[in-house]
Symmetry: C3
Subunit: 253 residues, 3 copies
């Protein structure tokens, strides 16, 4: 199986699929081609959330604002999975979420018909070549050279003590839910009660429908972190928060 | 085959696909993940239009604003098809359109890693489990309990007499076409002539290109109902109609 | 394999997929369903860029503002590929890009449940019927009649001399990159230097990341033509150009 992720929207993903389908019979599943253009942090976050739900696969990741410059093209083994993408930091977090033995390689040479669409001319053929390989054997390919380190997008660490947790908004999802880097454990014994979020009282509930339509809540999202939301509305608007903003949660009694 | 429908946009559908692909080799086809967020009526309408064109399948439907509350999770047999989704009314209409012997079941227990993403943690594993089963045997699963009734979104009935038909706008499609609940038979002997729609004269034509670009028409849409449209334009704007509005068609001579 | 292209967005493509999946086991790959509504030129351009990357396939193309009028429905053989779509000009350019022996056929009779959704009722069943056929044998189908000529969207020819190249913007892609009809050879010996584009000096670079973020450049795009872009920005805005506009490139020394 090959999964495909990019910030291409349409129609470029189809060219990559054609290239792959011309070279192997791998099943193709889109993660998404709607990643915000060039946003490496958002891409890395979501890939870390989603790729671990897939069976062993080759994961093709083309969010690559540096296409055609001297950035390397990587193959990263993460357990039974292989990631293929640019060396711009986007692969490290999902590789870490996938777990297992990890090794990184770079393409020795980049040969491409175009300098602006390596997704079609380099990444897709490489993914097709890797399809069906044992990830443990990928180092045997002459085209790859082992890399000690790869670039890594890093997420800020939260500061959590008994009373107060200080963190950051990682991303806003499509529903407008505010996903923070605060661990869900911050809310563990507050379920059904309330906390102070940036100094305002907010009910803590197991899911959205436990407050009236339009009302705010804090919950533990599907990612395991503290999420700030509005039942059938947009938490990002109600809490006036966007990606990168600070969030302080006080576990008021 | 498993079809997938949701209001998730991106990236959450990919997590469901990963879960299913980890558990079975079912072919996956997206109906859409663009259903308007939480809009049960629109979702039910389109599923009723589209699912009957599929071969026998498991249809996974996750438009579920009540996720994590005490709403049940249903499996509905409709002939050779199985529907999986929340008990919020969204499944009844497509089940009825699919036809065949019908039976409904609820999950006895909902066990989930998260309370905010049952699509990934409950619905997707359930769809994978149902894949390949004979729909007639689904009642044999210990995890399910038969349900006499399920919640049902109901569509308003039109009032049709010889001269006048009074109905409602069901949905606006992406082209801006206004889809009503009036049966196409209302226009049957008016083809090539005209009717009065909300008191204005509108030509009745077999399809859009039979009037000039930008002009209005009434036609029988692909759903068999009266549709109000503009050739290469938006009927919803030209007729000033939106979902839920009243439409009166007078069959003027 | 059957590829699917349309301007339907959602949910209509799913009905076509259901119809095909009910009739054959062809693998289905979406090219896109986001073609701008009824824009034949844009559709033809992108299909010409993308379909040649696919292995031999049936390519279903439903950008069809004349649905239900007397326009013909075509099957075009292009080498090992078959194209299915309306006779509105959209198929000629991709057929020419696919290359190989070419022959065109029209459906003798159009039988359809609806006059507004031939994609579902005529094109999809036809694509399913063609799946698995040797493209050389398609003329043997009783339902088809050979056509000497088909309608063709034509793209303007550029005027290129030693100093100056005059061309046209063909399309703006989703990144805002301005894709012209000027051949990349216009920039061949200017790489790393600059040219004058509509009388303003613009650096010529192999790809976007060779200029600072937000800066303009001229490059050879993945289509082989001159492309005007902004690194991590929108070239269409920075150059104030849209589809159909004139572009003059002076190869200043």
């Amino acid at each position: 199986m090959i999964t495909l992720s990019s910030d291409f929207d349409w129609p470029y993903p189809a060219a990559m699929k054609g290239v792959i389908a011309s070279r192997c019979d791998a099943r193709l599943i889109d993660v998404t081609h709607q990643f915000p253009r060039g946003e490496l942090r958002t891409t890395a976050f979501w890939l870390g959330e989603i790729l671990p739900y897939f069976p062993p696969s080759v994961h093709l990741v083309v969010v690559d604002p540096g296409v055609g410059t001297d950035r390397d093209i990587l193959v990263v083994r993460a357990g039974d999975h292989l990631l293929v993408g640019p060396d711009n930091g986007v692969l490290a977090h999902p590789a870490s979420c996938l777990g297992g033995p990890r090794k990184a390689f770079a393409l020795q040479e980049i040969e491409s018909d175009s300098e602006t669409f390596h997704g079609r001319d380099v990444f897709a053929p490489l993914a097709a070549e890797l399809h069906g390989m044992d990830p443990a054997d990928v180092g045997s390919l002459d085209s790859l050279i082992e890399r000690e380190e790869i670039d890594a997008i890093r997420f800020p660490d939260p500061e959590v003590d008994d009373d107060t947790a200080k963190g950051t908004v990682l991303v806003i999802d499509g529903f407008g839910n505010v996903i923070t880097n605060l661990p869900g454990s911050v809310l563990a014994d507050r379920m059904g009660r309330s906390v102070r979020v940036n100094d305002e009282s907010v009910p803590v509930r197991p899911s959205y429908g436990h407050v009236p339509v339009g009302a705010r809540l804090a919950t533990v999202g599907s990612h395991g972190n503290v999420e700030l939301a509005v039942n059938q509305g947009r938490g990002s608007t109600a809490f006036d928060l966007e990606s990168g903003d600070s969030v302080t949660v006080n576990r008021e009694s």
